[in-house]
């Protein structure tokens, strides 16, 4: 029998009926976050009681929660075979074993391990096998955590006729030690005829670890990790007072032949205490390209060192152009001020036709207006005509349940050509090209309570996120995976081409393999003669989409507002009309009701 939201079967042995009713009344109106906070609060109270020596039942763990994790990195299957053999032997000895291909292993999990055995081969000139590349890089990177609680051993496979025999194994061995882990036994390097050496080592290891890993452990306190630091109070960092974060990774995740340049950006929020939730956005303060500033100065023949005053601040016009002004969008107020200073009949005519002006500015930056309608204006006049720089918001592509003090973004580099001049978006150009890893970027969190996972983890979710619209859904799925949420998840994604533009492809494959995501429907517009978009995939799956909605699914759309969101909405209307036997009007009403119930949410731009 299933139980409704926010309720559980009465634990009669612990609470009496009246206590149970009181608690239920108290928690009924709470949302997910509040409930999470409550659980930590109650656990804290229980701790205090325990500390106060009030007779609380101590729980004796009946079995050890320690396990042995065997990680293998195999190219031809030999390392895998050894790892499997080891698993069988260890399990025979009563050890709980988690056997994982390094390719499927979340590197960040390492710091939660107590016992790890690495089985890895080496290829060519000391190269790691493909499956091991990521983890191999991770343990050598600055991102690698300290591992004081870890005991480890390494089995290397290689071929002594190569110069860098078992190099990958050596690397793991040294790095794990350097990270503070304890070596249980000296590494064994196996040659082509690996069988006997590996077998002896496995037997030795099994004997050594047996006592440690099969001993009964006693625990009185169930630790709820992280909860003590969770604060429901808003962060001290705001748009006006952003946190000086650090760019830890900027990676082009579209293939080398893609027509798009989309970046995966990781920003470290370390020591900020910033908390965000899936669905939130992050605000990015950026600076303008110095080359763009110089283009202004040279077009207008202004000396960059000339001082301008902004409020009570004085600085050079060049610095002001870089740090203070909005240069990479076109906006009418600039045209207005510019015309006041430097009248021009053609520009005036354009300015008076609002539609034309909007179209004109949509494809241009401020500098293009100056280039097309040259005039002589002073630094002060320029400064007065320009709007102050505003930060850009990006939907967050990560969940803190998974990435902790990082925030991830999915950023399309905006790049276009105006009369032979290359133009780039302000923030996307900054994040993609001008900011180096390790450099500072000012950020703040923009809450978005209108784009939230269902409170009930069992509620199904349909996500439509073509292009960079996929970002918040990566966050959603990270969260649902960490929560072990049971609700079904269905992703609709589209982009130009399967081989080049399947954003986070390997992660989605893993989500599917792990059972987090149930369905993925893909629309790659340029892979066939006729263009296929997400709305077409929705229509093709109309019956099932409607069925999910009827089962209570939440429907989310993220991405392009002008075309996609509208096309998706129209598709949804026709699906509801067709499979719900409704008129178009009734279908619209159905969707309005969904929206009111917060079951149809959009994050479009």
């Amino acid at each position: 029998m299933s139980s409704p939201t926010n309720q559980a079967v009465v634990p009669t042995a612990v609470l009496n009926d009246s206590q149970w009713t009181q608690i239920n009344n108290a928690i009924a109106p709470l949302n997910r976050d509040q409930l999470t906070w409550m659980s930590g609060y109650l656990a804290g109270l229980a701790n205090q009681q325990a500390a106060g020596a009030i007779a609380a039942p101590t729980v004796e763990a009946v079995s050890s929660n320690k396990k042995l994790t065997i990680l293998y990195g195999s190219q031809t299957g030999n390392a895998k075979a050894i790892a499997q053999e080891y698993k069988a032997k260890a399990e025979n000895a009563g050890i709980a074993v988690n056997l994982q291909n390094m390719a499927d292993y979340k590197a960040k999990q390492l710091k939660n391990e107590t016992h790890v055995v690495v089985v890895v081969s080496t290829h060519g000139e000391g190269d790691a096998p493909d499956d091991a590349v990521e983890l191999h890089e991770f343990v050598a990177s600055k991102k690698a955590p300290k591992l004081p609680d870890l005991s480890f051993a390494v089995i290397g496979l290689g071929d002594t006729s190569y110069e860098f025999f078992c190099q990958t194994a050596k690397d793991f061995d040294q790095r794990l030690e350097a990270l503070g882990a304890k070596r249980v036994a000296d590494r064994v390097d196996c040659d082509v005829d690996y069988d006997s050496a590996a077998e002896a080592f496995i037997d030795q290891l099994t004997t050594m670890l047996k006592d440690e890993l099969t001993a009964k452990s006693q625990s009185q306190v169930v630790q709820l990790p992280g909860l003590s630091t969770v604060s429901s109070a808003a962060s001290e960092y705001t748009k006006k007072n952003p946190f000086p974060a650090t760019l830890s990774e900027s990676l082009k995740i579209t293939g080398r032949d893609s027509i798009k340049d989309i970046r995966h950006i990781e920003i470290s929020l370390e020591d900020s205490g910033i908390q965000y939730q899936p669905g939130d956005a992050v605000g990015i303060w950026f600076t303008n390209d110095p080359q763009l500033a110089d283009e202004f100065l040279s077009l207008l023949d202004i000396d960059g060192e000339e001082t301008v005053s902004l409020g009570d601040e004085s600085l050079s016009i060049r610095q002001a152009l870089i740090d203070k002004f909005e240069l990479t969008l076109g906006y009418p107020t600039f045209v207005k001020s510019y015309l006041e200073t430097a009248p021009n009949a053609e520009l005036q005519a354009l300015f008076e036709d609002k539609n034309k002006l909007r179209e004109y500015l949509a494809e241009r930056q401020i500098v293009d207006v100056i280039r097309e309608f040259p005039a002589k204006i002073t630094a002060e006049q320029l400064a007065r005509a320009l709007r102050p720089l505003t930060p850009r918001l990006y939907s967050i592509a990560s969940s803190q349940a998974d990435v902790e003090d990082e925030v991830h973004l999915t950023v399309a580099l905006v790049e276009y050509d105006v009369d032979g001049n290359k133009r780039q978006g302000g923030a996307s150009g900054f994040l993609s090209n001008r900011l180096d890893e390790g450099q500072q970027v000012k950020v703040f969190i923009e809450e978005n309570n209108n784009f939230r996972l269902p409170e009930n983890p069992d509620t199904p979710v349909i996500m439509v996120g073509p292009g960079t619209g996929i970002a918040p859904f990566r966050a959603f799925m990270q969260q649902r995976a960490e929560d072990d949420a049971q609700g079904k998840n269905w992703l609709f994604f589209g982009n130009p081409s399967f081989t080049q533009d399947f954003l986070y492809q390997t992660e989605w494959q893993r989500f599917v393999k792990d059972g987090v995501v149930d369905k993925v429907s893909l629309a790659f517009s340029r892979d066939q003669k006729e263009k296929i978009y997400v709305q077409h995939r929705l229509l093709e799956n109309g019956e099932e989409v409607y069925q999910w909605l009827e089962e209570g699914a939440h429907f989310y759309v993220c991405g392009d507002a002008t075309h996609m969101a509208k096309d998706v909405h129209d598709a949804l209307v026709s699906i509801v009309a067709k499979f719900g036997n409704k008129s178009e009007e009734q279908a619209e009403e159905y969707l309005t009701e969904l929206r009111k119930a917060k079951r149809y949410q959009k994050d479009v731009y």
Binding site: G124, V192, T499, Q509
Partner: protein, 574 residues
Amino acid sequence: MSSQEFPIDKQFVVEGKLSENERIKGDSNLLRGTISEDLTDDLTGGFTSDNFQLIRFHGMYQQDDRDIRAERAKQKLEPLQNVMLRARLPGGIITPDQWLAIDKFAEDHSLYGSIRLTTRQTFQFHGVLKPQIKLMHQTLNKVGIDSIATAGDVNRNVLCTSNPVESVVHQQAYQWAKKISEHLLPKTKAYAEIWLDGEKVETTEEEPILGNNYLPRKFKTTVVIPPHNDIDVHANDLNFVAIAEQGELVGFNVLVGGGLAMTHGDHTTFPRKADDFGYISAEHALDVAAAVVSVQRDWGNRVNRKNAKTKYTLERVGVENFKAEVEKRAGVSFADSRPYEFTSRGDRFGWVEGVDGKYHLTVFIENGRILDYPGKTLKTGCAEIAKIHTGDLRLTANQNLIIAGVEPKNKDAIEKIARDNGLITDGVSNQRMDSMACVSLPTCPLAMAEAERYLPSAVTDIEELLAKHGIAERSIIFRVTGCPNGCGRAMLAEVGLVGKGPGKYNFHLGGDRQGTRIPKMYKENISEQEILEDLDLLIGKWSKDGQENEAFGDFLIRTEVVAPVVNSAKDFYA
């Protein structure tokens, strides 16, 4: 004939836990697996575990662009997975219409846009994405080509000495190659069902010759017409050496158990020459072919794949036992071998006139890669020729192309197209024509070192060495293979390089020009530079001390630079 008819002699069967591939074949429902389900999975461009192996039996390998594998892993993109297709083309003969169809498909639907002629006398498409695979098979099917059993543990594409139109014997030999190919083909309807949307067959199927678990390992067959050994008999499990009387093919000497594959560091594996079982008259060819295959099916090692090929079966059970079983199963006795001799392996470039008054033009295709290069539009040239040609096209086992059966009136026009598109270039050296490489990087998943991409510059280096020592017109059979599996047949070269790691090769010396001696390892795991330095020294000695017309490999044996490999099992690693 099926295995039921012949009780299997247990003493010749290797006991033990069967290899994983045996399970895959056994569970495959006669090569179907769940390939159809994989085709509808658009989350990945690849095939899942068992199917990854099973598509090979349908003539495809899953590959990816290895040059960008690491880059894509970082980008959270899976490898650029695609398939390579190897067509079944017994004897390498293809019609102009077929050619135009494959030319268009390669152009429109493959990542590399090329037609790759291979050492198995057929062509390969490289870089076909999953959504195009069915279209590929259907396109081929429309023009009468399939790719059944060109890979996997089956009898693969049957080779036949090239240019059969030169004589009646060639024509007859080619017909036998085709018949043998068809006789030994899997009988499962899986191919038609999966790729051609054929009807699902409900009846129980059987594989009377191959067995429902198919063969223990790949199996290669040829028909060869001495004195030409272009197909390299000693690289093959089963060879029919054509014996002619008065210009008519009357029978075959049967050579069994050749093979070049080995595994680095595993001395139980080695390249091995075929044994001569003796002579049979032509009408027994199919029965003998089926008998050899079925004995290997029953006695081959299904426990250790590295020792599963026919050559190891012969070493283990003894040639006489194997031969006796073949005689029993085929119901024939081998007579004494008829005399024959191999004198050459290379292709004869340029025009020759056939017995029927038609002309044949053999063109040199470096690496067998037909593609439009700047100033050398090979692919366009071949297509233009196919548009006017009334004869056929023949792919040679040396990866070259013959435009065969040219009407005298078309000769000039074809010559002009060939010249205009760089298919005929004067001044290609003997050395270049005697050099060969397998595909290797970036597409072959087994490759350990460059082969095709390294060959052109390696040949230039050797040309310079020959010129330096005053023998620019001479040549050395030079072959590079990217891994010890040996598609480039380096183990039958005078100088053979076997890929070991990036820029590193095992360096073999001492094969002969006819392909009847296996070269011995001279140095292990050395760089391209070291190889060239050694060759400089050895070519210098050869030019100075070599006897008249003495080939490089023979010279190295005579002067004891390397010892000859006579009995591979004993000598190869000695």
